[in-house]
Structures are given as structure tokens and as C-alpha cells.
Symmetry: D2
Subunit: 156 residues, 4 copies
């Protein structure tokens, strides 16, 4: 099936996505960053660190999910209209192999953009000694909140 090119509805999509990502304090805490971005597509990258591990020394599965949640969320957000927010509805992820590697790349692609809901898939790869391997696959539903600006709404 030929894929249609995805057309952003906000001319400011690139800056908007990057500003939103930057507002996520948790990304700074773990050192994750946007590695690639185009309409309907987003890569998020995370380097291995000794303080991000599960019980066997691999990257924690919650972090594999975290970068996939951001790659899919921002892939969807890049197609949303001005003055809207993106909301994660559900994450469905299979962990295929232990998260071993120097860095991890979550590659989010919108399968179906919708006015309210978008369905997005994500490959999560681990890179070690220059080789990449698929270690997880995610399928997710993202929601567009129109008329709700993407800004800080909760302060503790």
C-alpha cells in the first residue's frame, strides 16, 4: 500500500513539538532528545546510563516505553492543529529482547491521523558496536484536545 505524505495543519509544527518536548522535565532527567522529526514521524533517542537500569542491568522497560510514548506522541502532535494538546490514551508494547546497548532509538510513525484520535506505531531499536536491533514494538492511540493550549497546566 502506498503511503500518503502527511500534511501538518500547523505551519509552526516543528517548533511547537520541540518546545513541548523541552518542557518535559523528565526528558532532561534521563537525557533523552529528539533525533529526527518530520510530519507524522518522530525519533527519540536515549543513551544508556547506569542509573536507568532494571534488576539485571539492562535499560528499564519503563524507559523503553517512555521514549516510545514520546516518539509516538510527538509524531501525532506534529499533525495536530494550532492551539491543541496531545494526550496518550493507551500504550501497547511488546518487549522482544533485553534492552542492551549504548543507545536506544524509538521511531514513531503515524498510521492513521484523525481529527480526534490518531493511531501510531513505534519500533524501538538498541544500538551496540554500530549495530542496530529491534528490541520492542509499540502500538498506541493518541488523542487531540482541540482548543486546549499545550502549556503547563499543573503545578505542584
Amino acid at each position: 500500500m502506498p503511503e500518503k505524505p502527511m500534511v501538518p495543519r500547523d505551519p509552526d509544527w516543528d517548533a511547537k513539538v520541540r518546545a513541548s518536548f523541552k518542557r518535559q522535565t523528565f526528558m532532561d532527567t534521563i537525557g533523552a532528545r529528539i533525533a529526527a522529526l518530520s510530519p507524522g514521524y518522530c525519533q527519540v533517542e536515549l543513551a544508556f546510563r547506569g542509573d536507568l537500569c532494571q534488576q539485571n542491568g539492562y535499560l528499564h522497560g519503563g524507559l523503553v516505553t517512555t521514549i516510545a510514548a514520546n516518539a509516538t506522541g510527538y509524531a501525532a502532535f506534529s499533525l495536530m492543529p494550532p492551539n491543541s494538546s496531545v494526550l496518550g490514551v493507551d500504550y501497547k508494547i511488546n518487549l522482544l529482547d533485553p534492552a542492551a546497548g549504548e543507545r536506544f532509538i524509538a521511531i514513531g510513525r503515524v498510521l492513521k491521523p484523525g481529527r480526534t484520535l490518531s493511531v501510531v506505531e513505534c519500533d524501538i531499536e538498541a544500538e551496540e558496536a554500530g549495530k542496530r536491533k529491534l528490541i520492542a514494538k509499540m502500538l498506541t492511540t493518541m488523542m487531540c484536545l482541540e482548543g486546549v493550549a499545550d502549556e503547563i497546566r499543573y503545578k505542584k
Copy 2:
């Protein structure tokens, strides 16, 4: 349907689960802890912190998934035999409400313990001003690796 009490197959189940949790450096990084533990049941608790947020100021969805992954994983691990490891196969989570609150509690309960696979569900609640609210629900598959000791296997 009456629930059968779950019987651990390892007399050392309590110490084993706590030792495994303690080996997770990521739990230390975010300040999560085991709040309750019994055979087939585990609660993991996380306090809100300003450096754990998503773009609107709420706790990051990846962390909601992280504590649910641990609550379900250790609920399952508590029933596994000696000299085995637990492996997350998949996470399926619905985010019901923004993760607003002072602390978050993931409550994992084994639905079906199996020799190889266990199915576990999890309620994730947020507590604010003494009130609790269900903010997410997870359903997950956990795998038992028999004969594979739960220890550090990967060192970077």
C-alpha cells in the same frame, strides 16, 4: 468468582523480591519503593517530583507505566520458583486521567499464575489531599525464566 489464595513456590519470596527491586538503579533515581507485598500482590509507590514531568506538568506517562511494570512484575515474581527470573513480555495500559497528585500507587495483582506465563493486572491511583483516584489501568504478561538466576547479567 471466589479468589484462590496464591501460594509462593519459593520460601524466600519476600526477600528475593525486595533484593531484586533494590538492584533496579532506576527506582533509586526516581525514588520509588515497594509499599506492600504479598504472594501474587505488589504495590509500588512514587512521590511526585518536579523533575519527573511531561509537557503539561503532570507525572510522565512513562513513569505511570514504569511503576505499574514493577508492581505487576514483582507480583508475578513473588510466585516464581527459586533460581528463576521474571521477564516483562508486554504492557497494555490505558491512561484514564492526567497523573496529578502528591503520590502515585501502582497495585499489581496476579490474575493467573502460570509455569511459564503469568497474567497480571494493575490499578494505578493518584493521591491528592488524602483522596485517591484511579488514573490508569494495566494488563500485562510476565514470563518466568527457570534456571536463570535473578542477578546482574549486563554491565556497560
Copy 3:
């Protein structure tokens, strides 16, 4: 957590749900029926039949999912306003045990009703010789299409 009673927004909720179920020709084909119904809650029942099996003689997993999809969809639909339709967004199901039994009951309960999205869970039980057993668990997202009447929209 105490559960709040769920309040239907359509006084005609009971008749509306039953009329919609009756319009599903596939329910007639397999002989499924609504076994219980209240606001935010729906049971769908299916008797075993030799022409509904998978390769080992058990009820087909697609049918376990089918009755769970209806139990959850109609649990959600019972809470939706007049002149609206219900749409299944995603199904996430774990099959815990082979579907062996004389009849199968899918028990759908709304976890969180929403204006647009509702999250619903479902226990699927098998009954054999008077005993019931949990054989599958589903978590699903349902969408309300307001202003779209629940009627035949597609004719082949």
C-alpha cells in the same frame, strides 16, 4: 476505592442497547445474547457450538474477543447520550486458558466513562458442569460519536 454508581444520560438506555445488539446480524449467526444489563455494565453470553471452534476443538479466540467486544461496547453505550453511536477504538485481551465449556460469559464494566472516550474492562468466564472459570481478560477503549445515530449506515 468505592465505586460511584453510574448514571445513564439517555432515559431510553436499556431499549437502545438491546435494539443495537439485535441489529448485529453476527450475534444471530453465532447465537449470542445479552444476559444482563445495567448502566455501565453488560453481560454477553454464548453457548458452545461445534461450528465455532479453533484447531484443537475449543471455542475460537476470535469469538472470545467478539463477545468481550460487545459486552464492553454496550456497557459503554448504556452511558452515552441520545443520538450517539459507540465505536470500538482498541481491544487488548489476554487469553488465560483454553476456551473449554458449555457456555461463555463476557462481563463488561466501565472503569471510566468519558464524554468522548470510555475505558472498559471485561472478564470472560467459561462455565462447565456448573463451575465457572476466568479464561480471558480484556481492557478496551470505546469512543462516543455524538450526533451520529446508531443505525444501519452501510449496506452491501
Copy 4:
């Protein structure tokens, strides 16, 4: 990422898969058939019929899941060793668009074959007037039961 060709471990994989599919009485009831088969890959096809519909006249979502369950299950089974059975562990499916069309094709591809667990994805397409459209996407976990012959084990 280059995909490795998948190597069957049973020389009789093609006949074995087809015999198993044929044993599924439910496939005969709805008129589904295997449309393509190779190691780690399976297409299942279903024609629209008036007795297979949901409440708005579209193909029932439970049947979209059913053909995807078979396409993924047999994609996985094609790679399993002799004298084994395949078991669906979980299905995670997003319904992207109403199932409108003359026929529906579920295209299952193994993402990761494993000794015990295999992860398989599935595109489900609808064909209408010669045009195909992606209407659903599934991600699933399949289990191999070694030493358990794939035959009728349950008779009612």
C-alpha cells in the same frame, strides 16, 4: 533495518499450517481462507457477508480480530518445530476505520520468532472497488507448546 529471511524448523510447515486451519470449524462457518503463506508470513481472507455484521452494517470488529488472530497465529506456527502447537497469548488491536468493503485481508508477519514466544504484527485491509485501505493494526504474542501435537484435544 534489513530483515532476515525466516527459516522454518519443520520441513512440513506448509501442509501442517493448512491442515490446522482446515480443522478450525469457525473458518468454514464464516468462509475465511488462507490467501498466502510463507515462513513467518500468512494472509487470511474473508468476504463480506450480510450475516457477519455489527450494528451499523459493517463487518463485526470481532471478525476483524478473528482473521488477524489466525493470520498472526499461523505466521508464527509456520516457524515452529514438528510436534508442537501454537497458542494465542494476547491480541492488541486498533480499529482505524469502519470495516467496509467486499473483502478483508489480514496480513500477519512475525517480528520476532522465539523458542517459546513469538511476536507478530498484522495489517488488516479492506478492499472495495479494487482499492485497498488499512482498517486495523494488530500486535500479538504467540506461544509455542513443544511436544503438544496440534490436533483435536477437546470434544463437546
